[in-house]
Subunit: 126 residues, 4 copies
DNA sequence: GTGGTCTAGACCACT
DNA sequence: GTGGTCTAGACCACC
């Protein structure tokens, strides 16, 4: 079985990786609110996974409120901007939390991590 | 392959994961400068890995200058504090770089990431 | 089989569902006592069912005394109000009985069910 | 394919019916908090459905917080009594809501439904 | 043995 | 053609 195009990982369940990928495409505005998503089968084909797996991922996205489905006409990105921005914030928090914990593992207290990243950004004029 | 004590990952080569773990124990001061490390066999046993793999990891640590070996009496943590702090900084930089790139993937510019993490730390009084 | 206008169910026999629907229209006064019902063919067409099925439903209604037929001029809603109110009560009893049994299945004694529904109605000022 | 023992319905998805059945067994205390559930395969065999379908049902129950799973040792009923009683209340509300709406369909206002059920219970000394 | 994931292939209702 | 559901059969990691 090929696993290309979207280069999936191997340690975390595929369907969760799909959720993340799709979440990103929505959060970053590659799919806009109200946009129609490709069909389950199409997305599955693109990601080179079984339609059921993609279906599971999409169900999860639906549970998160990021998409909704119209049994006959397809799946659409939610038009509720709050849900989208909320999802964005929650991912950001996860990333921050993970970052701080990794920094903590090598001996940086949160305050120090903050200083380091502050320095890093200023240094490179990002 | 068993997964105990040090819970190895599976996707990245084992020896690199060992390097990281050992690097951490040194950087965080669990092993102090000048400390004698356990023998390769012992470390291998603790981590439940093949001694050859542990050997490879230790060679890498040597290459990084974090440990040095005294053919006869064993391996020791470097006494050069500069090497240690430099290693710590370089890991931190990697973490920061990775963090910023992941935040960028969900639509946060470095400046925004900084604000977010700043807010996060203040919010939780970390 | 098409599912329109009257959205039939699929598990219970169609003619019984038709009986219920017609019973409702009479009980709730959408057809008044003495009103002439549309022809079998017409009703069948509206409900998108086979005329024979509708015929069976109407026979049942006749048996219940809710309608009577005048071989020549068509079918009419009974003018006997007692029959109508009695039918209404008997349906209500079925509903109540079913409700209590379902509540019982999840651990509510009839008395408790009563309290719950009482609370529910007051809460929402229904 | 046989569909016995638990007599499943046919109109609502099987996995949802399974969720309901299991929910009842927990809510009514047939499985007590902390009890170990039979394995997925066993439950699937009992209900005469495919293990995947049962798995889906159990995942849903887990999402509802009524059970939790210990990857290796099996699935258990939650020990959080709040979750259980909350689930019970929420089902009761659904039943009440459905009951009132059906009564409304045959011409009883909520207040009248309340009176009827009150009368019904008193009459039969339930 | 346990739960969890994945695939392949099928059927259904709705439009 | 769409989403949704279901089955059958397989593999994995964990203990």
């Amino acid at each position: 079985m090929m696993r290309l195009a979207w280069e999936l990982n191997g340690d975390t369940p595929i369907y969760l990786q799909l959720v993340e990928r799709l979440r990103q495409t929505i959060i970053t505005g590659q799919y806009l609110p109200g946009d129609k998503l490709p069909s389950v089968r199409e997305l599955a084909s693109i990601a080179a996974v079984n339609p059921n797996t993609m279906q599971k991922a999409l169900s999860e996205l639906e549970r998160l409120g990021l998409v909704y489905s119209n049994r006959t006409s397809g799946r659409f990105v939610t038009e509720d901007l709050n849900v989208i921005t909320h999802s964005k914030h929650s991912i950001a928090e996860e990333e921050i939390s993970r970052f701080l914990s990794r920094m903590s593992a090598i001996g940086y207290e949160p305050q120090e991590s903050l200083e380091q990243i502050n320095y890093y950004v200023k240094e490179r004029q990002l």
